[in-house]
């Protein structure tokens, strides 16, 4: 028991060591090669959360989804001036700064206000656009909130997690109950279903929604805004002075020529195109792609999970005390931490040392997570086989591994089949968490369609049906095999 504790401790210490190794490194300010690095790479990666029309949103171009909007135009101009290619990475707004710190993206252009708080961990460019802060409310309530944020006292206010609007609601509205969600689309849904009374968003965004949804009205929030809360700027990793200076040149030019006006016009055209056909059939390719990725992630994670699961189950059952302790620590640690944290750790944490694409990170995290549960299911299955089976096999001269492979595991699998099936079915559903790092699974596509069409409920219903079809089909396939095994035994 003492030994196990020591090993668990060692494991945790190791983890801490990895974490501290991957902690953001501020010392490179002395030798700032941020601009040179981008030029050497030939690409600049822009991180954005495309649920914020007209700043950034997804459009359906020939069945393919792409990010458009004012911020994208700004990004294009920057890339052009730096003479590099622009690459866009999408993720939730509250993941953007982490992605910046961990080098997943080179800059964040996502309607972000350069607040003093953020400036502690991020370098900001000049402000390139001043939008102002609005409140979105249901049309029926328009009169109630005409006075702006003062009228929100004691009300439920929705805002994006990690956003300036969230802080404004917290700090400037008396007795406010602030509900934070990571997607504006979800906030709008909460507003329309009266889960919240008002949503704090930036003026252009509020106006875009009001224009596309005749149930909603945009009202000036009349918040007291400090200098740092006015307008939006581009975020860079701390210590990127040369890069920021270069980008500022582009931004100053944009401002001088009042180009944002043109950008907003372009964005408006895209938005109009989006809402031309909002039927779910029009978006079937999105859902099909989402189903494909969900199945891919699940299938690979299942295989990964079974292989690792068998390994750790055998380690835990084996006589070797060190291997046993490692298996116990692994299983308990993985089962004791949320899948969402594991996904973020693999993508951002381990991603600091080795660059792993989001899809692969998602598969690894889901597979590892599943393996801990599978290991316990398999251990239970192996323990359920009477010891006489092992004795009979060994007395015939079969080796330990032959006994396991030919005698114990086939019977164990039969016993644990229903439990294993349960695990696979829940994996289809749980894999949806990978959408937070931008993997384009079904949940992710659901949000894309919501954003594109300004329709909240219909995509949810479609996704629900699709998930059910997947799990129900799998469940039928599993019981077919269960029946087949029963027949044999």
């Amino acid at each position: 028991m003492k030994k196990i504790k020591q090993i668990v401790l060692a494991f945790l210490l190791g983890l801490v060591a990895v974490m501290s190794f991957t902690a953001p490194n501020y010392t490179n300010a002395a030798t700032d090669d941020s601009l040179q690095k981008i030029k050497d790479k030939g690409t600049i990666i822009m991180g954005t959360s495309p649920d914020y029309a007209p700043y950034e949103f997804l459009v359906n171009v020939g069945g393919k989804s792409q990010v458009e909007g004012m911020d994208v135009e700004v990004g294009k101009q920057i890339a052009k001036d730096l003479n590099v290619k622009l690459k866009i990475k999408q993720m939730d707004f509250d993941q953007l700064l982490v992605a910046l710190e961990t080098g997943k993206v080179d800059m964040v252009i996502s309607g972000m206000s350069p607040t003093n708080e953020r400036a502690k961990s991020v370098d900001f460019s000049h402000v390139y656009y001043q939008g102002g802060q609005d409140i979105l409310v249901n049309k029926a309530d328009a009169k109630l909130y005409a006075k702006g944020h003062i009228a929100l006292q004691g009300k439920n206010i929705g805002a994006q997690t990690g956003s300036l609007q969230y802080d404004l609601a917290k700090k400037q509205v008396k007795d406010a109950k602030v509900k934070g969600l990571s997607k504006v689309t979800d906030l709008i849904l909460a507003l329309k279903s009266h889960k919240v009374d008002a949503v704090n968003v930036e003026k252009p965004v509020a106006e875009a929604y009001a224009a596309n949804d005749n149930q909603l009205v945009a009202i000036n929030g009349k918040y007291e805004l400090g200098d740092d809360m006015q307008g939006t700027a581009i975020g860079f990793k701390k210590g990127s002075k040369t890069l920021v200076t270069a980008v500022n040149k582009t931004l100053d030019k944009i401002k001088k020529d009042n180009k944002t006006k043109d950008y907003l016009k372009t964005a408006g055209n895209y938005m109009a195109g989006n809402t031309a056909d909002t039927s779910m059939f029009h978006y079937w390719k999105y859902f099909a792609l989402g189903v494909g990725y969900t199945l891919l992630i699940t299938a690979v994670a299942v295989i990964f999970g079974i292989l690792l699961g068998v390994l750790f189950a055998l380690m835990r059952l084996g006589k070797n005390k060190v291997l046993h302790a490692i298996a116990v620590a692994y299983i308990e640690f993985i089962r004791g931490t949320p899948l969402m944290v594991q996904i973020m750790f693999v993508y951002f944490g381990i991603g600091m040392i080795v660059q792993i694409p989001a899809l692969v990170s998602g598969i690894i995290a889901v597979g590892i997570n599943s393996s801990a549960y599978v290991a316990e299911i398999i251990r239970g299955g192996i323990n359920s086989i009477p010891v006489g089976q092992t004795e009979a096999a060994r007395s015939l001269g079969l080796s330990q591994s032959q006994t396991m492979k030919s005698v114990i595991l086939p019977q164990a699998v039969k016993n644990i089949w229903p439990a294993l099936g349960n695990e696979f079915i829940s994996l289809i559903k749980e894999s949806s968490i990978v959408s937070i790092i931008g993997v384009t699974d079904l949940i992710y596509q659901l949000k894309v369609v919501q954003t594109n069409t300004y329709r909240g409920i219909a995509p949810i219903a479609v996704a629900m049906v699709l998930y059910f079809v997947m799990t129900f089909t799998l469940s039928k396939i599993l019981s077919y095999f269960e029946g087949k095994m029963k027949h044999e035994g």
Binding site: S395, S399, Q402
Partner: protein, 248 residues
């Protein structure tokens, strides 16, 4: 008269914690011997039998099988030894997920590397020998206890062992099925197989055994021909045991 010793057991001891189950056994088993071990439950009979093929590791002593000491051998070397020692269990322990034929051919194919065809031919021969030629494709669950035990004997014989160990082979059987299993064992004995049988079947012991060993308190306290042990026991404990068993 036989000096071709197959198994030599020297001062064999086995403890489970503080509980000493075998307190020092020294015996020799020759090729062709049929040894029947009798005694009250808890006397160490099964523990003794299971230590002979390394299923239970002795605490001290030596077991020389064809000259090799099993005690302290590694798992891999033990596997080699076990190929040559068949064992039949009280609970049959057939593999329920395999047909009767696959139960019998598994070890010859996996361990000896026999071809599937050869292993199946051999298995069918053995099934005929135990009177179950028509059950090759059946699954164990569809067989009676007696039939299962006969398959288990065939399975052990498929490895062509030099000695067969029987651990109370009829104790879990309904009375009407005991006979068919004992018959197979008797045939096996007459074919010259070396056998060590732990059993409560005194009739079988009387008829088939070359030697009867009476075990009590972790030791063999009396041995001899069936006549000597059953008709003229010398030890008080043997007499006591036999009087209880034979009354029933």
């Amino acid at each position: 008269m036989k000096d071709n010793a197959l198994l030599e057991i020297k001062d064999l001891k086995k403890s489970f914690g503080d509980n000493e189950v075998l307190t020092g056994i020294t015996e020799t088993i020759h090729q062709g011997d049929v040894i029947v071990v009798i005694g009250a439950s808890g006397g160490g009979k099964s523990t003794f039998l299971r230590s002979l093929n390394g299923l239970g590791e002795p605490t001290s002593g030596q077991i020389l099988f064809e000259g090799t000491n099993l005690v302290g051998l590694g798992e891999k070397e033990l596997d080699k030894v076990r190929e040559k020692m068949g064992m039949v269990f009280q609970q049959f322990n057939l593999f329920p997920h395999m047909t009767v034929l696959d139960n019998i051919t598994l070890a010859p194919i996996k361990v000896k590397g026999m071809s599937e065809a050869d292993a199946q031919t051999k298995a069918k021969q053995l099934l005929d020998q135990v009177g179950l030629g028509d059950k090759a494709d059946a699954y164990p669950a569809s067989l009676s206890g007696g039939q299962q035990q006969r398959v288990a004997i065939a399975r052990a014989l498929a490895m062509e062992p030099d000695v067969m160990l029987f651990d109370e082979p009829t104790s879990a059987l309904d009375p009407e099925m005991v006979g068919e299993v004992l018959k197979v064992m008797q045939d096996l004995a007459s074919s010259g197989m070396t056998m060590v049988v732990v059993t409560h079947e005194m009739g079988f012991a009387h008829k088939v055994a070359d030697q009867v060993w009476f075990m009590d308190g972790g030791q063999i306290i009396e041995k001899g021909t069936p006549d000597q042990v059953f008709e003229h026991p010398k030890e008080e404990r043997t007499k006591d045991f036999l009087s209880k068993v034979l009354v029933q």
